[in-house]
Amino acid sequence: MSKWVLKGLETGVKTTVYPEKTETASGVTQGRPERLELLKDKRSVVNICPTGAFKINKNIYEIDLTRCIHCLRCLRSPEFPPAGWTGDYEWAFSVSEKTMKGPFSHCLHIRVVDGGACRACLCEISQTGAPYYNIHRLGFFITPTPRAADVLMVAGPVTDHMRFPLKEAYEAMPEPRAVVAVGTCALSGGIFGRSFASSGGVSEILPVDIAIPGCPPPPLAIIHGLLILTGRRPSLSVIDKPESRRKDK
């Protein structure tokens, strides 16, 4: 088995520099549409969004990230000029006042529940545990049982059949506990919306504390969400200043 040890050593450290520094490698995030001042021809971009994530507020079009499904149509539409786009990944935000500071902040156990996700979110969550992101170094651990979990991480719109298992998992968790909703489906139902088969978001079933938008949110955004929960990074509403980041691609 020594060859595997050598192989591991030979590979070296792959882990991202986030959160100490900003990760600059290409391809770690697909970015997100950005708040922009409304120009005359931007209105058509608002109409092209299939999930209605754009909202016009006076002279600015605002983006409801909990609705954006990363279809990239506002960026690529052949007929209209593209929307503003930013290539960052720190876009998670807190929904409630709850934080898990103090003894929990560097030893947080997470139970991941699939509430009908398409599996892309789940793959991104498992990537956070893989060498490139390695959430263990930050004191986050995936646990198989809700009884040992501090955080319930839910992906997917919460299908009709998953409501009871999800509630049971939540009830089995000891206090203090927090709920993190991962992905646009978990926040607004995403493309599946609210229907006979899906509840249209985790907040219909459980109180959500941290929202991580994205379809799927890249691993760095998921880490950002966990860091907000432990009070180690600010939430999106605090750091997002559209004036300082404007970039029209």
Binding site: M162, G190, S195
Partner: protein, 534 residues
């Protein structure tokens, strides 16, 4: 023109043969432009027709499509011939107030789950089917509510029972010392939601009873009434890990309804990304297999390669899982020449390291011990259950839709279909590795002959009609049936996914092996539950 007459001849010969075999009970017509031979028969003749098609002509089952109109029920049983590369469509009709058809699952075993699904969602009775009910809809749902019926309103949550009934299988193993071990719906570290009930008298699993559709999102229903541009978003988002393949199948279907020929460049770049997705998907499966056996270094190595592939996707296609790329009429993003060579070069780099990993795994005896002769599916079972994709190819069924029903672009590429005969976990691992290698080969062939054309042709309006689109998704054959009405809206969207087909045969692999092998067998199948549940 030569090709067309050749297809016409094949179809003509086949239809003559079918007429000869089935004498007067059927009406046979051919549509050479759709590679389709249609057989219209009445309900009583159906068993004979299916039997002859499967056992005498040697067709493989593709999909079953139920449609409801104002006057009648229409069921289409679609078969295909991997020998002469055509589709055969058997149509049966029944009056709307008599939703009863004979069950074909004893003749075509792959129809077993298809019929159970249709019974739950449409309320059609399949006479002679051994187990109907409690499949897609769990007990909370009252009897007689069928969400796929036209009268059912999908917009709001259905007001059903709020208490969680205890589920029990119909039969329980009756033997001294027998016990049941439930797994799921929430289990292990990061897993998809599904329930497996393992019955045992000691160490070996005697029966494994799966219960799916915890993740049922009603994709087929909520697609109804939507414009194809919206449905394509659903097609790629119901199974995120094979998003490109499924959106491609959907695009094939609607493009064929609209009668649009996609430009050559779009076809080629679609192949490029479809193969890249297969490459990434298989690395992900390899990672899961290494993980299930507890070989942490190998799992980490595979995870590194997977992440690099994801980053490549994002860099060149703008999305880590290739969402938003396929649209009816072509692609939303073009690749420059430098992009193509860059993508290929860096994929090659991942491939080289994957090859090294393969060699190291082949000489890790503790790893192979967990895979060899575990979770065996024999060739006969794989044929009976109509298994598809890498799972079937590891069991000696060398069937690949890219060869069996070559779709746009694959006629000109040369590649081999890796096939193993043992049918155990190790055979499946080898198929994953070899297919990943083949995919990169297809990518390099495609880039060599990339043409200079636009990558998108706008589709102005969609005429009324229906069509089937098919692809070899990473997990196997996927068939998307789309019907568009006079307003240009989708009124029926039927998805037959490889995971749905293969989960049907999963119990064969799980039974007769020890408990502790269960997670390994699960991983070697490389299936997605999201893709199966829809």
């Amino acid at each position: 023109m030569v090709v067309e007459t050749e297809i016409y001849k094949k179809l003509h010969d086949l239809s003559e043969r079918i007429r000869h075999l089935l004498t007067n009970s059927v009406t046979v017509s051919i549509e050479p432009e759709n590679l389709l031979c249609s057989i219209e028969c009445n309900v009583d003749a159906l068993p004979v027709v299916c039997k002859q098609l499967v056992s005498r002509i040697g067709l493989s089952f593709a999909t079953m499509i139920v449609e409801e109109s104002n006057e009648e029920w229409l069921i289409q049983y679609v078969f295909y011939s991997s020998r002469i590369h055509i589709l055969v469509n058997v149509m049966v009709r029944q009056e709307i107030d008599n939703p009863s058809f004979p069950s074909m699952s004893s003749i075509v075993h792959a129809l077993d789950w298809q019929e159970r699904e249709a019974e739950d969602l449409f309320g059609i009775v399949f006479e002679g089917h051994p187990v109907l009910g409690d499949f897609v809809l769990h007990e909370e749902w009252p009897e007689g509510v069928n969400p796929m019926r036209r009268t059912f309103r999908p917009e709001m949550p259905y007001p059903h029972k709020e208490t969680r009934p205890e589920w029990q299988p119909r039969r329980i193993l009756q033997e001294p010392g027998a016990f049941m071990m439930p797994i799921g719906p929430i289990f292990s570290g990061i897993s998809e939601s599904a329930h497996f009930l393992l019955e045992t008298v000691g160490e070996d699993v005697v029966r494994s009873i799966p219960r799916f559709f915890y993740k049922y999102r009603g994709v087929e229903k909520i697609a109804e009434g939507k414009h194809p541009m919206e449905v394509v978003l659903l097609a790629e988002r119901f199974a995120g890990t094979s998003a490109f393949a499924h959106s491609l199948a959907f695009c094939h279907a609607v493009e064929s309804i609209a009668g649009v020929e996609v430009p050559e460049r779009a076809v080629q770049i679609r192949i490029l990304f479809a193969e890249f997705e297969r490459f990434r998907h298989h690395i992900s499966c390899i990672e899961a297999i290494c993980n299930s056996t507890g070989l942490a270094v190998a799992a980490s190595q595979a995870a590194i390669l997977e992440e690099e592939a994801l980053r490549l996707s994002c860099e060149f296609a703008g999305h880590r899982y290739l969402f938003g790329l396929n649209i009816p009429g072509g692609l939303s993003k073009d690749l420059s020449k430098e992009d193509c060579t860059g993508l290929l070069k860096r994929t090659d780099n991942i491939l080289k390291r994957l090859d090294r990993l393969y060699k190291m795994l082949q000489y890790s005896s503790s790893f192979l011990d967990r895979l060899e002769e575990v979770g065996i599916i024999c060739t006969e079972d794989a044929i009976d259950y109509g298994l598809v994709g890498p799972v079937a190819r590891a069991s000696g069924v060398c069937n690949d839709i890219r060869k069996a029903l070559p779709y746009k672009g694959y006629e000109n590429v040369e590649f081999s279909v890796p096939c193993e005969t043992e049918g155990d976990g190790y055979a499946r691992l080898r198929v994953f590795f070899q297919e990943a290698f083949q995919s990169v080969m297809i990518m390099s062939q495609t880039i060599e002959r990339l043409s200079d054309e636009p990558i998108y042709i706008p589709i102005k309006d969609y005429p009324e009609g229906s069509a089937i689109g098919w692809v070899e998704a990473p997990a196997g054959a996927a068939f998307h049936y789309v019907r568009i009405d006079s307003r240009g809206r989708v009124i029926r969207y039927r998805l037959t996914t490889p995971s749905f087909t293969n989960w049907h045969g999963f119990h064969l692999a799980a039974e007769g092996f020890a408990f502790q092998d269960f997670p390994i067998i699960l991983a070697t199948f490389g299936l997605s539950i999201a893709e199966s549940d829809r």
